[in-house]
C-alpha cells in the first residue's frame, strides 16, 4: 500500500493558540476528493495526536472534521500557558511541524 505525506496533499497545516491554555491544529485541503480520501482513511484521531506529541489521552481535548472548509481540527491542552515562565511559543504558531510528515494510506 502506498501512502502520501500531509505536506504533499494538504493546502494548510498550522497550529495556533485557541486562548492562552489551548493549542489548536488545522489541516485543510483544497480538493474535495483528497479531503474525502483523508477523512475515510481515519487517520485523524485522538491517538494520532497522543502519539505525535507524546501527550496523555486527556490532554487531547477534541478532534473534529469540518466539511464546509474541507478541514480537520484538533485541540490539545498546553502544559505551560501562553507567555509565562518557561513557555517557548507565545502564539503557539510553530507546533504543527510533526503533522507535516503524517502518512495517509493512499490506495
Amino acid at each position: 500500500m502506498t501512502t502520501r505525506k500531509l505536506r504533499d496533499i494538504a493546502s494548510v497545516v498550522r497550529s495556533k493558540n485557541a486562548g492562552p491554555f489551548e493549542l489548536t491544529f488545522d489541516v485543510m485541503f483544497d480538493d474535495v476528493e483528497i479531503y474525502e480520501k483523508v477523512k475515510s482513511s481515519g487517520v485523524f484521531t485522538s491517538e494520532l495526536f497522543q502519539r505525535l506529541y507524546r501527550v496523555e489521552p486527556h490532554r487531547v481535548l477534541s478532534v473534529h472534521c469540518f466539511d464546509p472548509a474541507l478541514s480537520f481540527k484538533a485541540t490539545i491542552a498546553r502544559s505551560i500557558s501562553s507567555g509565562t515562565a518557561g513557555d517557548s511559543d507565545v502564539f503557539g504558531a510553530q507546533q504543527h511541524a510533526p503533522l507535516l510528515d503524517v502518512e495517509v494510506p493512499w490506495n
Binding site: 485557541a18 469540518f66 478541514s71 501562553s82 507567555g83 517557548s88
Partner: protein, 458 residues
C-alpha cells in the same frame, strides 16, 4: 438592495494598513468603520503591566503604533460622517490601556480640529465583583484552567471582561460617532451597527468574526490590510481592499477555524453562531459569498473574564554553541549549571526562583512536544531565569551562564569557552513576567452591568 457595509482597516489597531486600502474602502461608502484593538494573543504581559513597574517601554511603543493608525481612521470617519468603533483598545482593554488609546485620540482630534460625540466603554472588572460571583458559584473555568479562587483573584494585577455587542449598540444609539471600548469579544464592534439595523444575527456575527482579523482571511493574507464586509438579508460578501489580494472560498473557510477549538461554533456572550450548514461560494474573482450561518441563543448569558498576575522578573542569556563536543554534552552543561546554582544559592526557594534552558536546534521551539532527535551543527542555548526581583534574576543568570562557559566535560579539547555570546551585556533583564490566572466564564444576567459608558463631546 438592502445592505450594510462594514470596513475593517486592519487586524489590530496598531498593526498598520496601506493608505490606498483605506482610500479604496472609503470609496465604497461604508456604513461603519470598525477595528479590533487587541488580543490575548501576545500573552499575559500586556494585561498585567503596571505603570512604573518595569517593562513599560513596550506599552508606550504600542501607543506609538496605535497613534499612527488612529489618525487617518478618525479623519476618514468624521469626514464621511460614519461611526468609528474600536474595541479592546490599547491591546489588553483594561482602563490603563483605554486611557492610553484615549490620549492618542484626543491628541489627533486637537491636531486635526475634529469634533464628534465620543463614547468610552469601560471593561475593567472590580475584583470584589468576581469574588462575590465565585461565592455564588457563578464562575467556571473556560477550558483546561483551574477553578478560580478568591486568593487567585487577589493576585491578579487587574481583570477585564469581554463585552458583547449590547454596550456598543447602546453607545451608538446614544449618538456616539466614535466609540472607544475596553476589552470586547472580537466580533462585537463589527456587528453592533448591522444588528441595530435589524440584520440577521448569525450572518452579522459570522461576518464580524472574519472582519475582525482585517485581511487575514484573504489570499495572500495580511493582518495589516483592509477588508470590506457587505451584509444582506440572506448572505454576506467579503472583499479585500488591496487589489493584489483576493478572497477565495478556501481562504475564508480557513479563517472560520482560526484560533478556536470547535470549527462549527463561534461562541460569544449569550450565544453562538452555528456553522454546520455554512456555504462558501466564489462570487467574483476577489469576493466570497457566505450564507447559512445561524445564531443560537445560550441558556444563560455568560461573559469571559481575563486576568494576569505577576510572578517575578526575567533575565535571559543567549549562548550559541558550535563545538561538536559541547553540543554532544549540552545536557551535562545544563545539569552542571543547575547543580552549581543550587550549591551556590542554597537559600533560594525553587518555587519562586526558576531556571529554564531552551535548547534551540534541538527542541527550543517545541520543548517536550518535539519528536525529532536530529543533532544539528550549531545550537542556541537560551537561559531564562525568573526570580522575585530583577537583581536576583540577573545574578543567577550570570552565574549559570559563566558556569556553562567554562564547564570542563570529558574529552574537551576546546578549552577557552563553550559558548558564543552575541551581546554585551551578556545577561539581559527582560522585565516583569506575568501569567494568565483568570480565564473563566462568569454568569451575568445584565449584558451592560460590567461596562459603564461615558459620553463626551470632543
Amino acid at each position: 438592495m438592502d445592505e450594510v457595509r462594514v470596513l475593517s482597516p486592519t487586524a489590530i489597531l496598531g498593526y498598520g494598513y496601506p493608505a490606498e486600502s483605506l482610500e479604496e474602502g472609503m470609496s465604497r461608502k461604508p456604513d461603519v468603520i470598525a477595528v479590533d484593538g487587541g488580543s490575548t494573543d501576545g500573552g499575559p504581559y500586556y494585561l498585567g503591566i503596571e505603570p512604573g513597574g518595569g517593562g513599560g517601554g513596550q506599552a508606550s511603543a504600542f501607543l506609538e503604533f496605535l497613534a499612527r493608525d488612529m489618525g487617518p481612521l478618525l479623519e476618514a470617519a468624521v469626514r464621511a460622517d460614519v461611526p468609528l468603533v474600536v474595541g479592546s483598545a490599547g491591546f489588553a482593554g483594561a482602563d490603563l490601556h483605554l486611557m492610553g488609546a484615549l490620549s492618542v485620540l484626543y491628541r489627533h482630534a486637537a491636531e486635526k480640529k475634529l469634533n464628534f460625540k465620543l463614547a468610552t466603554i469601560h471593561a475593567e472588572v472590580d475584583k470584589e465583583y468576581v469574588k462575590k460571583k465565585i461565592r455564588a458559584g457563578q464562575v467556571e473555568p473556560l477550558g483546561p484552567v483551574p477553578e478560580l479562587t478568591e486568593a487567585e483573584v487577589d493576585k491578579t494585577t487587574r481583570i477585564v471582561a469581554q463585552m458583547g455587542v449590547e454596550p456598543f449598540v447602546r453607545a451608538l444609539e446614544g449618538g456616539a460617532q466614535v466609540v472607544i471600548a475596553g476589552r470586547a469579544n472580537d466580533p462585537s464592534m463589527f456587528s453592533a451597527l448591522p444588528l441595530m439595523r435589524g440584520f440577521d444575527q448569525g450572518l452579522a456575527m459570522h461576518m464580524a468574526k472574519i472582519l475582525e482579523c482585517g485581511a487575514i482571511a484573504a489570499s495572500p493574507g495580511s493582518g495589516s490590510d483592509a477588508m470590506l464586509g457587505t451584509l444582506r438579508n440572506d448572505h454576506f460578501l467579503l472583499e479585500p481592499m488591496a487589489k493584489e489580494r483576493r478572497c477565495t472560498t478556501l481562504s475564508v473557510a480557513a479563517h472560520s477555524l482560526y484560533e478556536k477549538s470547535d470549527p462549527t461554533k463561534l461562541f460569544g456572550p449569550g450565544g453562538w453562531v452555528d456553522l454546520s450548514d455554512v456555504r462558501f461560494e466564489q462570487s467574483d474573482e476577489r469576493t466570497v459569498k457566505v450564507s447559512g450561518s445561524r445564531y443560537e441563543k445560550a441558556p444563560k448569558y455568560e461573559l469571559k473574564i481575563e486576568g494576569s498576575k505577576k510572578i517575578g522578573y526575567r533575565t535571559i542569556a543567549v549562548c550559541g554553541i558550535r563545538d561538536p563536543a559541547a553540543i554532544a554534552h549540552v545536557d551535562e552543561l545544563i545539569a552542571s549549571a543547575r547543580e552549581a546554582v543550587a550549591r551556590q544559592y542554597p537559600d533560594l526557594d525553587p518555587e519562586t526562583h526558576r531556571l529554564f534552558f531552551h535548547v534551540y536546534g534541538r527542541n527550543g521551539v517545541m520543548g517536550a512536544l518535539e519528536p525529532s532527535t536530529h543533532v544539528p551543527h550549531e545550537i542556541c542555548l537560551l537561559l531564562e531565569v525568573v526570580a522575585p526581583n530583577e537583581g536576583i534574576a540577573t545574578t543567577v543568570c550570570g552565574f549559570a551562564r559563566s558556569l556553562i562557559l567554562h564547564h570542563g566535560f570529558d574529552g574537551r579539547i576546546s578549552t577557552a569557552g563553550n559558548i558564543a555570546a552575541p551581546f554585551s551585556p551578556l545577561d539581559i533583564p527582560a522585565g516583569p513576567v506575568f501569567e494568565f490566572n483568570v480565564y473563566h466564564l462568569v454568569a451575568e444576567e445584565d449584558p451592560h452591568a460590567l461596562f459603564p459608558i461615558d459620553f463626551a463631546d470632543v
